[in-house]
C-alpha cells in the first residue's frame, strides 16, 4: 500500500527582547549560570509577573506577517507540571485565548507553490536548563533562560513530505529573522521545532495515529527525523502493527527516534487562567501602529528584485535570504548600476569568501561601495575581469579602497595599442615554432599566444585589444 505522511510542526521561537517576559532581567544568551535572575524569574514565594509590552508587540509583528487573525482579548494561563527547570511549578502560557489564529505562509516546493496553514501563535515563558554531569550524581539548574519570552507557532497538519516541512520551517525562520524578533539560532535553541507526524493510505481522508518528535536542533535533523519516522511507521503498519501515540526523541548520533513517554503517562497540565495577570487588550490602533513598523518581507522583496532589477528568480531567492544580504545587494546596485553583474559578484565571490571565513554579511570587509567600485572599474576598462578578482581578494584581506589597491600594485590595464603591439611582436618572435604551426592551420594556438601576452604583461593587458591586435598581426 502506498502511504502518505501528514506532518504538522510546532515551532518555539525566542524573542529578541532585551528583558524577560515577566521581569526586568536580561534575556541575553550565554551569561554565567544563574546570573540573569531575580526573585521573580526564580519563582520565589510572593513574587508576581508583570507583562513585557515588547513581547506583545513582537508577537503582533509575527501575526501580521503570517496573515493571522489577532484576538483583541488575550489572556494568560498556567500550565502546571513539576520539573526542576520550572521554578514556579507552572509555566505561564496562553491557552484558550492565544494572540493570533488562522494564518498561513506560502512555501515553494520544487517550483510549486503551497500554502501552509498556521493554527495559532501564542506567547509564553521559557523554562531554565538542567546541566547533568556524568561523574556527579546530582544535576545543576541554570535559570538564566527561565522567563525568556517565546512564541509558539503551531501549523495545521498541511505538510505531506519532509521537504514541505523543511520548506515551511525555512520560511518561518526567514520571516522571524527578517522581522528582527528572533535570531533564529537553532543550536543555541532560539528556534526550536517539534513535529507531529502520522501516515495514512494515500487517498484516505482520515488521519492516522501520530507521534510527536522532539530534540531536533537543525533543519537537517528535522528532515532526517521525519524521514526516519516515515519509514518506521510504514514498517509498523505494513507488518500489521499499530502506531502508538507517543513522544519520540531524535537521536542524532544513531539516526533513529526513541520512545520518550506514552500517552498513558501524558501530563494533565490543569490549565487555568493565571489570576496574577489581567486580560490583555489589543486595540486596532496598536495593531496598525505595529503594522507600520513591519519591514518588506522576503517573498515580497524577492518579487520586487525580479521586477525591478531584472535578475532571475533564483538570484533573487539567494539575495533575499537575509535582510542584511538584500540590503548589501541593493547598495551595490546603487553604486554600480549593474544589477546582474552585482548579483554574480555577491552570489559567487562575496558569499564564497564569507563562507570560507565563517563571517556574516554584516561583517564583510568588502563594503557595497567597494564592490560597486570594482564593478565600475571593470566597466570603464581600468582593469580586466581577471585582475578584478585579484583586486577583490586584496580588498577583502586589507579592507583598502579598490582604486588604491590597483594603484599600489600597478594593476591598471594596458590599453595603449602601441605598447600592446610591441608586447605581441615580442611573443611572436620568441615562439617561431608555434607561429609556423599556426600558419599551417593549427588555429587553436591563438589562445596560446593570448596567454603568452597576458603572462608578459602580468595579466594587465586589455584582453579585447590583445585579441584584435593579435588577429591582425597573425593575418599579416
Amino acid at each position: 500500500m502506498e502511504y502518505e505522511p501528514v506532518i504538522g510542526l510546532e515551532v518555539h521561537a525566542q524573542l529578541l527582547t532585551k528583558t524577560k517576559i515577566f521581569c526586568g532581567c536580561s534575556a541575553k544568551f550565554g551569561s554565567a549560570p544563574n546570573n540573569n535572575t531575580c526573585p521573580i524569574c526564580l519563582g520565589m514565594p510572593g513574587v508576581l509577573p508583570v507583562m513585557n509590552k515588547k513581547v506583545v508587540e513582537y508577537t503582533i509583528k509575527m501575526a501580521v506577517a503570517t496573515h493571522c487573525r489577532i484576538n483583541k482579548n488575550n489572556n494568560f494561563a498556567r500550565k502546571n507540571y513539576f520539573y526542576p527547570d520550572l521554578p514556579k511549578g507552572y509555566q505561564i502560557s496562553q491557552y484558550a485565548y492565544p494572540l493570533a489564529e488562522g494564518g498561513y505562509v506560502d512555501v515553494e516546493i520544487n517550483g510549486a507553490k503551497k500554502r501552509i496553514g498556521i493554527t495559532r501563535i501564542h506567547m509564553e515563558e521559557d523554562a531554565g536548563k538542567l546541566i547533568h554531569d556524568e561523574n556527579n550524581p546530582s544535576s545543576y539548574v541554570d535559570l538564566n533562560r527561565a522567563g525568556v519570552p517565546l512564541i509558539e507557532i503551531v501549523s495545521e497538519p498541511d505538510m505531506r513530505s519532509p521537504e514541505e516541512g523543511i520548506g515551511y520551517l525555512r520560511r518561518l525562520h526567514e520571516i522571524l529573522v527578517y522581522l528582527e524578533i528572533c535570531d533564529g539560532n537553532m543550536e543555541e535553541g532560539s528556534f526550536r521545532c517539534d513535529a507531529n507526524i502520522s501516515l495514512r493510505p494515500k487517498g484516505e481522508d482520515e488521519f492516522g495515529i501520530r507521534t510527536e518528535l522532539k530534540n531536533m536542533n537543525s533543519f537537517r535533523n528535522v528532515q532526517r527525523a521525519l524521514q526516519y519516522e516515515i519509514k518506521r511507521q510504514q514498517y509498523v503498519l505494513e507488518s500489521g502493527g499499530k502506531v502508538i501515540q507517543e513522544t519520540r526523541l531524535w537521536d542524532d548520533s544513531q539516526g533513529v527516534t526513541h520512545s520518550m513517554r506514552g500517552k498513558e503517562e501524558a501530563h494533565d497540565y490543569r490549565y487555568f487562567p493565571d489570576p496574577d495577570l489581567v486580560p490583555l487588550m489589543i486595540s486596532e490602533e496598536w495593531i496598525k501602529e505595529v503594522e507600520k513598523t513591519l519591514p518588506e518581507l522576503p517573498l515580497r522583496k524577492r518579487e520586487r528584485f525580479v521586477r525591478e532589477y531584472g535578475i532571475p528568480p533564483y538570484d533573487a531567492g539567494v539575495l533575499t535570504a537575509s535582510r542584511d544580504l538584500a540590503d548589501f545587494y541593493e547598495k551595490t546596485v546603487k553604486y554600480s548600476g549593474k544589477p546582474k553583474i552585482a548579483s554574480n559578484w555577491i552570489m559567487g565571490d562575496v558569499l564564497g569568501y564569507l563562507k570560507e571565513d565563517k563571517k556574516e554579511i554584516k561583517d564583510s570587509p568588502v563594503t557595497p561601495e567597494a564592490l560597486g567600485d570594482v564593478i565600475n572599474l571593470i566597466e570603464d576598462g581600468t582593469i580586466s575581469g581577471k585582475i578584478a578578482k585579484e583586486v577583490f581578494e586584496e580588498v577583502w584581506k586589507t579592507g583598502k579602497d579598490p582604486k588604491k589597491v590597483i594603484e599600489e600594485k600597478g594593476l591598471v590595464q594596458i590599453t595603449d595599442a602601441g605598447a600592446l603591439e610591441t608586447a605581441i611582436e615580442e611573443v611572436l618572435k620568441s615562439s617561431p615554432a608555434q607561429l609556423e604551426q599556426y600558419k599551417q592551420g593549427k588555429e587553436k594556438l591563438f589562445g596560446y599566444f593570448v596567454g603568452q601576452v597576458m603572462k608578459a604583461t602580468k595579466g594587465k593587458a586589455n584582453p579585447k585589444l590583445v585579441n584584435e591586435i593579435l588577429r591582425k598581426k597573425l593575418s599579416e
Partner: protein, 486 residues
C-alpha cells in the same frame, strides 16, 4: 496606662510632644511580649534587635524633625506570609521553616518607609489555610480573652498580638475572612480592602484572585492611618489598581445621617449564636439612632458562596504551592531515591494535613474532565455573586452583617471536622469572591466575656465609607473598652 496599650494616634501625639520616645514604646512592647507571649503565642519570629535599631532611627528623625512618616516610631507586627528581606518568612509551614527572602514585600517596604518599628512576624494557619490558627506548624495561638479558645484565623497571630498589646497595630491577609474573622473573635478592628487596593507583591500567595492585605488596629482611626500607609498602586503587580487613594483619616468622626444600610436577609440564618444575633441587632438599632435608615436586601446567591470559594481558592492554591518542591529553597526530604520521589517525600513531610487536603481538592477541580464542572462553574457562580452586590449597592450605601456566626470556639473543637471549620467564614467569603472591601469592628461581648464582631461591606474602592460608618458607630455605640486579663 502603659505605652503599649495606647493607639497609634495617642502615641503619635506623645512622640510629637516629646513625652515619650520610640525606644520607650518599643521597650514596653517587648516587656509585654516577655510577659504574655508564652501564654498567647502570637509570634513565630521576634525581631527585637532590628526593632530597637528602627526605634532609635525613629527617635533621631523625631528629634531632628526630619523625614517623619505616618508611623514613625510605632511598633507594628506583620503576618508571617509577607516577605521580609533577611528575616525568615515561614507562612506557618514546615516547608518554609528556614526560608529567608532576598526581598521585602511592597507593604513591608511601605511600613519601613513610613517609619514603623517592625516587632516580629505573627503566627498564622499554614499558608493561610484555616480559621483558627491551629494548622500552624509552629504551634497554636490562643485567644487572649480565653486561653482555651482559638483567636480565629488565618491571621490569628496578628489579631491576638494587637488585643494582647504586644504591638500597636498589625498587618494580616484576608482570602476568605482571615482578617475580619479573627478581628471579630479577638475584639479588634480589621479591614480587608478592595482587591487591587493594596499590593500583593511579596505576599506569599494562597489564592491569588482572593488574597488581600489589610490592617488590624485598636480603633478605627488607627485603621485609617494604616490604610494611608499601605494602600496604593504598585507597578510590580498587574492586578494592582491605579485609582486615587484618599486620605482615609478624613472619614473619621463624621456622621452617617441619611445613609441607607442594607441588611441582607440571607445573613441572618438559623444557627447563628443568639448572643451574636442580639449584639448585631443592637448595632442595627444603633444605626437608626445615628440617623441612618435600614433596608432589607437580598443577596440571592449567598448559599453558593462556600461551595464556590472552596473550588476557586484550592484550585489557585494547588498551582501557587507547586513551587515548594524541595529543589531550590525550603524543606527537602533526604529520603527521595530519585527526582519524583524527592518531590513526593518533601511535599508529604513539608505540608500539613489541611494544606494537603486543599491541594488535592484544587488539583482535582482543575484536572481534565472536571474543569468545566468545578472550576469553570465556580467562576461563573462567582460572577453571579459579584452581581448580587452590584445590585444591592444600588439600594444602600453599606451592607451590615454579623462578622461570624459564633464567638471564639474551643481549641481542637473543629479540627477533625473541616466542613464545620469552613463554615466559620460563611459571612466573610462573599467579599473576597466579589472583590469588595469589608471591615469587622467590635459590637459587644458575650456573657462569658468573648468579643463579638460586626461586619460592614461597601462597593469597590469605598473603604472610606466603611471607615466613616465604623468610626461613627464606634463613637455612638460606646462599646465598653475592655482588656483581656492575661
Amino acid at each position: 496606662m502603659e505605652l503599649n496599650q495606647l493607639t497609634i494616634h495617642e502615641l503619635k501625639e506623645k512622640l510629637k510632644e516629646g513625652k515619650t520616645t520610640s525606644v520607650e514604646i518599643t521597650e514596653s512592647v517587648f516587656k509585654r511580649i516577655e510577659d504574655v507571649e508564652d501564654k498567647v503565642h502570637s509570634f513565630i519570629t521576634l525581631m527585637k534587635d532590628s526593632a530597637f535599631d528602627e526605634a532609635e532611627k525613629a527617635d533621631k528623625a523625631i528629634r531632628e524633625e526630619n523625614n517623619i512618616g505616618l508611623l514613625t516610631g510605632i511598633p507594628v507586627a506583620v503576618k508571617d506570609l509577607l516577605c521580609t528581606k533577611g528575616v525568615k518568612t515561614t507562612c506557618g509551614s514546615h516547608i518554609l521553616e528556614n526560608f529567608v527572602p532576598p526581598y521585602d514585600a511592597t507593604v513591608v517596604k511601605k511600613l519601613k518607609e513610613a517609619g514603623a518599628v517592625i516587632v516580629g512576624k505573627t503566627n498564622m494557619d499554614e499558608f493561610a489555610m484555616g480559621s483558627s490558627t491551629e494548622t500552624s506548624y509552629f504551634g497554636i495561638t490562643k485567644n487572649p480573652w480565653d486561653l482555651g479558645k482559638i483567636p480565629g484565623g488565618s491571621s490569628g497571630g496578628s489579631a491576638a498580638a494587637v488585643v494582647a498589646d504586644e504591638c500597636i497595630a498589625s498587618i494580616g491577609s484576608d482570602t476568605g475572612g482571615s482578617i475580619r474573622q479573627p478581628a471579630a473573635l479577638c475584639g479588634v478592628v480589621g479591614l480587608k480592602p478592595t482587591y487591587g487596593r493594596v499590593s500583593r507583591f511579596g505576599l506569599v500567595a494562597f489564592a491569588s484572585s482572593l488574597d488581600q492585605i489589610g490592617p488590624f488596629s485598636k480603633d478605627v482611626e488607627d485603621c485609617a492611618t494604616m490604610m494611608n500607609v499601605i494602600a496604593g498602586y504598585d507597578p510590580n503587580e498587574s492586578t494592582s489598581v491605579s485609582a486615587d487613594v484618599p486620605d482615609y483619616t478624613r472619614y473619621i468622626s463624621k456622621d452617617i445621617e441619611g445613609w441607607t444600610v442594607g441588611i441582607p436577609r440571607e445573613y441572618f440564618i438559623e444557627g447563628i449564636d443568639s448572643e451574636v444575633l442580639d449584639a448585631v441587632e443592637g448595632a442595627i438599632e444603633e444605626v437608626k439612632r445615628m440617623g441612618g435608615k435600614t433596608v432589607e436586601i437580598s443577596l440571592p446567591h449567598t448559599e453558593y458562596c462556600v461551595a464556590t470559594y472552596y473550588v476557586i481558592a484550592p484550585s489557585e492554591a494547588s498551582s501557587n504551592l507547586a513551587r515548594y518542591d524541595g529543589v531550590r529553597y525550603g524543606f527537602r526530604s533526604q529520603d527521595g531515591r530519585d527526582l519524583l520521589d524527592m518531590y513526593k517525600t518533601s511535599r508529604s513531610a513539608g505540608f500539613g494535613a489541611e494544606v494537603k487536603r486543599r491541594i488535592m481538592i484544587g488539583t482535582h477541580a482543575l484536572s481534565s474532565g472536571y474543569y468545566d464542572a468545578y472550576y469553570k462553574k465556580a467562576s461563573q457562580v462567582r460572577a453571579l455573586i459579584r452581581n448580587d452586590f452590584d445590585e444591592a449597592f444600588k439600594r444602600c450605601d453599606v451592607i451590615l452583617t454579623p462578622a461570624t456566626p459564633t464567638p471564639a470556639f474551643n481549641i481542637g473543637e473543629k479540627m477533625d471536622d473541616p466542613l464545620q471549620m469552613y463554615l466559620c467564614d460563611i459571612f466573610t467569603l462573599s467579599a473576597n469572591l466579589a472583590g469588595i472591601p469589608g471591615i469587622s469592628i467590635p459590637c459587644g461581648y458575650t456573657n462569658s466575656g468573648l468579643p463579638i464582631g460586626l461586619q460592614l461591606l461597601a462597593k469597590h474602592f469605598e473603604e472610606g465609607k466603611l471607615i466613616q460608618m465604623a468610626s461613627a458607630y464606634e463613637k455612638s455605640s460606646k462599646i465598653e473598652k475592655r482588656r483581656p486579663d492575661l
